[in-house]
């Protein structure tokens, strides 16, 4: 690398520090800025979720008499949680912060490109947040299906620009990260010695780069249709409304795996570290699990369109392919359980989150099977059942992984230790809250209530269950607050952290805490014996 790091050394003065942070090209700082952005998005979108839950706590209008306002909340909750929180937190924060450290690199391959992708991301967040400022807030849900998104008075352009900015940011980040992983590994770090997280990030970015352009094309044509008078999706002029849904889900289903892969990757790292054990059947996990998910993720998107009037034979075909994706995912689960086997498990906060992830992901994954079955799906599609399913499997499970990884990396990032007590209290509150909310939603959905309902006169008998879900949502809110307090407490009053508080063998813990600019005072030298998961006695 030809970048000099002298310029990045700490200098006193708040203005100077701020400037240093804003114009930083250091991957660790970029990662932390990603984290701050995604947490801000999480907070606002989480607030929306609370508003939505309050609105649903009783039949009829509850806190707003305008369904349009409610629809804007729904839009923002979905779009921000996926585009501005989960994907950036996993592929922005975690990947940026961890990957160069994990592979023993001084920085990313293209540090300035990295800064560009961060800036694009922040602009995306700003555009997304403008939703609340402009008079015609988008109300098109995060899917933006035409013709509704073309006919509505809501602003489709802000949605499209948010997608564009986040997409560009991801592609730039992807090129950077893949190059980094391919080229900048420390000497002696062979492919079979990479952390699972590095592998999974590589898989996630391959998916991002292949499929994002399709989403960009879909939303761009949407923009042209709405503001430039083209007829891409106007059925009366040769357009096809179904095509948008196909293009959209052709990206957005792989996007689920973009979220899942880094999630499960970091969980593997946490579990291996705290179980003091090697990753069970490493090659199966990497090539069978991660590789299988990457290969199969592009062939299942029609299960989002099971009720959309696609030809019957496509629905059957995609039912089978969707069911088959349980194979690589099942292998990943077996890898996790096998890692626990004969381990010596330490129950720290990150490990609790990892254990929570296993259970949540189990529930979410298994309830995916009824959804995958075309015939069953004809009833539960677009009901709360689906909402509960994807919250378990994607939203909550990966949020647990993100929180767990923040606790895991807290000493490394801040140089201080968080309070285990506060961390554990936060975990248990969150775990209770998500199960109360989302398990109730399974029942609501099973009883037939569709999603995205502002009012539910026709399902008035479900009011009691909706209330339970709302109570659960507040418990989640409380849990999130405790988590936030534990972080602030750790930052302010935490004890100084040692270099390697978890006794990890992985490279990122070999450097000092927090890592200096340039990461390693000298490039780590890895012996032939070394393995990131080389824990335990060898027998």
């Amino acid at each position: 690398m030809h970048i000099t790091y002298e310029a990045l050394e700490h200098k006193p003065g708040l203005g100077q520090t701020l400037k240093e942070w804003i114009f930083t090209i250091d991957h660790k700082r970029i990662g932390i800025l990603y984290l701050i952005g995604s947490m801000a998005a999480f907070a606002v979108a989480g607030l929306m979720a609370l508003l939505i839950r309050i609105e649903l706590s009783s039949v009829g209008p509850t806190i707003t008499s305008n369904p349009g306002t409610y629809n804007v909340w729904l839009y923002f909750h979905g779009a921000a949680m996926i585009l501005a929180f989960q994907i950036p937190a996993l592929t922005g924060f975690l990947a940026n912060y961890l990957v160069p450290l994990m592979i023993g690199a001084k920085d990313m391959a293209f540090p300035r490109l990295n800064a560009l992708s961060l800036w694009l991301y922040w602009m995306g967040i700003i555009v997304a947040l403008l939703t609340f400022v402009i008079p015609d807030s988008p109300d098109i849900m995060w899917t933006g299906y035409p013709p509704y998104s073309l006919k509505t008075g809501g602003n489709t352009a802000f949605y499209v620009f948010t997608v564009h900015l986040m997409g560009f940011s991801s592609i730039v980040g992807g090129i950077n990260l893949i190059t980094t992983i391919l080229y900048m590994r420390a000497p002696g770090l062979t492919w079979n010695k990479l952390n699972i997280f590095v592998w999974s990030t590589l898989g996630a970015f391959i998916l991002q780069m292949i499929f994002i352009p399709v989403l960009a094309a879909a939303v761009t044509t949407l923009l042209f249709d709405k503001y430039l008078g083209t007829h891409f999706y106007d059925p009366s002029a040769g357009g096809d409304v179904l095509l948008y849904q196909n293009l959209f889900w052709f990206y957005s289903h792989p996007a689920v795996y973009v979220i899942l892969l880094p999630t499960i990757g970091i969980i593997f790292d946490i579990v291996a570290t705290f179980a003091r054990n090697r990753v069970f059947n490493y090659k199966m996990v990497v090539y069978g699990g991660i590789g299988g998910v990457v290969l199969m993720s592009g062939e299942v998107w029609i299960h989002h369109l099971f009720t959309s009037g696609m030809p019957d034979w496509i629905r059957i075909g995609m039912m089978i392919s969707t069911l088959l994706i349980s194979i690589p995912v099942g292998l990943l689960m077996i890898g996790l359980l096998g890692t626990l086997y004969r381990g010596a498990i330490q129950y720290t906060t990150p490990m609790l989150y990892a254990v929570g992830f296993i259970f949540l992901f189990l529930i979410g994954g298994l309830t995916g099977i009824p959804n995958a079955m075309t015939a069953i799906d004809l009833y539960i599609h677009d009901t709360h059942f689906v909402v509960a399913h994807f919250h378990y499997v994607m939203a909550v499970a990966s949020t647990f992984a993100i929180f767990g990884s923040i606790y895991y990396l807290f000493p490394k990032m801040s140089g201080k230790m968080y309070s285990e007590t506060l961390g554990k209290i936060g975990f248990f509150i969150l775990f209770a809250g998500v199960n109360i909310t989302f398990f109730t939603m399974f029942i609501i959905g099973f009883k037939g209530m569709p999603r995205r309902y502002y009012d539910y006169q026709q399902f008035a008998h479900l009011e009691g269950l909706q209330r339970i879900a709302t109570i659960g949502a507040f418990i989640i809110g409380l849990g999130a607050l405790v988590v936030l307090i534990s972080w602030i407490h750790g930052l302010v009053a935490g004890k100084k952290a040692p270099d390697n508080p978890w006794g990890s063998k992985s490279i990122e813990w070999m450097t000092s805490t927090p890592p200096p600019p340039g990461n390693f005072s000298q490039i780590p030298v890895l012996s032939g014996e070394w393995h990131p998961y080389g824990y335990g006695r060898k027998e």
Binding site: T307, Y341, M373, G536
Partner: protein, 241 residues
């Protein structure tokens, strides 16, 4: 686990995915009989629930067992992993994969049978056209009668609705009949249902369509055949005058 044993096991497992769908094969019914789709749905869903509960409990029990059994007993305790032989490593990948695949194919075969019932419209079904618009349903009967938000059908006759939309995408959702299908401009979609007995059933919209999405509801009124015929006749006269 000896290699030979493993080989035999994996070969027999290879056939497992092929044979299990046969278990799901059900007897063909006569052409006259109208399949009981909601009943079939309930049956399949229950079966599925049992399936995923069993898998879930097995996984959860193993996890809890591992979590308790292998907790760290003293500070500094390290794990004591066993070394996987190549054969065992491959076996641990292939055997679960085949078990999952077998379960998948079994479920797929079951789901396929039911899905065929969903899509194969019975002969002589009573055909009604439905047009969705923001935010109501417009029904056009073969006799030329038209109604809004209220679909009257003869009980004991399968009914097929052929659907389209005037403006945005809606979804014609009949919770009681366990079926829904989107309606969209420029395409015609269909679904069928079988109101066995007279009674009322809910129709509700399941695809986000704007402000009044949740208020887009209607009802199906299944009437005794004679009442229905009388009603159609009266309506026909009314619409002509």
């Amino acid at each position: 686990m000896s290699k030979r044993y493993l080989r035999v096991l994996s070969i027999s497992l290879l056939f497992f995915p092929i044979t299990t769908p046969l278990l799901a094969y059900e007897k063909r019914r006569g052409p006259e009989e109208v399949p009981d789709v909601p009943g079939g749905w309930d049956h399949l869903f229950n079966e599925m629930l049992i399936d995923i509960t069993i898998v879930g409990i097995i996984f959860a029990a193993i996890t809890i067992y591992l979590l308790i059994k292998y907790r760290q007993r003293y500070p500094g305790q390290e794990g004591s992993p066993l070394k996987l032989t190549t054969a065992a490593a491959i076996g641990w990948a292939l055997i679960p994969a085949f078990v999952f695949m077998a379960d998948d194919f079994y479920l797929a075969a079951e789901g396929w049978t039911l899905f065929n019932d969903y899509r194969r419209v019975p002969e002589n079904a009573y055909e009604v056209k439905v047009e969705g618009s923001m935010w109501s349903w417009h029904f056009i009967y073969p006799e030329g009668v038209e109604t809004f938000n209220e679909l009257r059908v003869p009980a004991g006759t399968p009914v097929v609705v052929r659907m389209t939309s005037k403006d945005v995408i809606h979804s014609f959702f009949l919770p009681d009949f366990r079926v829904k299908e989107d309606m969209m401009p420029g395409r015609v979609t269909y679904l069928w249902f079988y109101p066995k007995d007279p009674g009322e059933h809910l129709i509700t919209c399941a695809e986000y369509c704007g402000l009044m999405h949740s208020g887009m509801k209607g009802k199906i009124m299944a009437m005794p055949k004679d009442d229905f015929n009388n009603w159609i006749e009266t309506e026909k006269k009314n619409s002509h005058t």
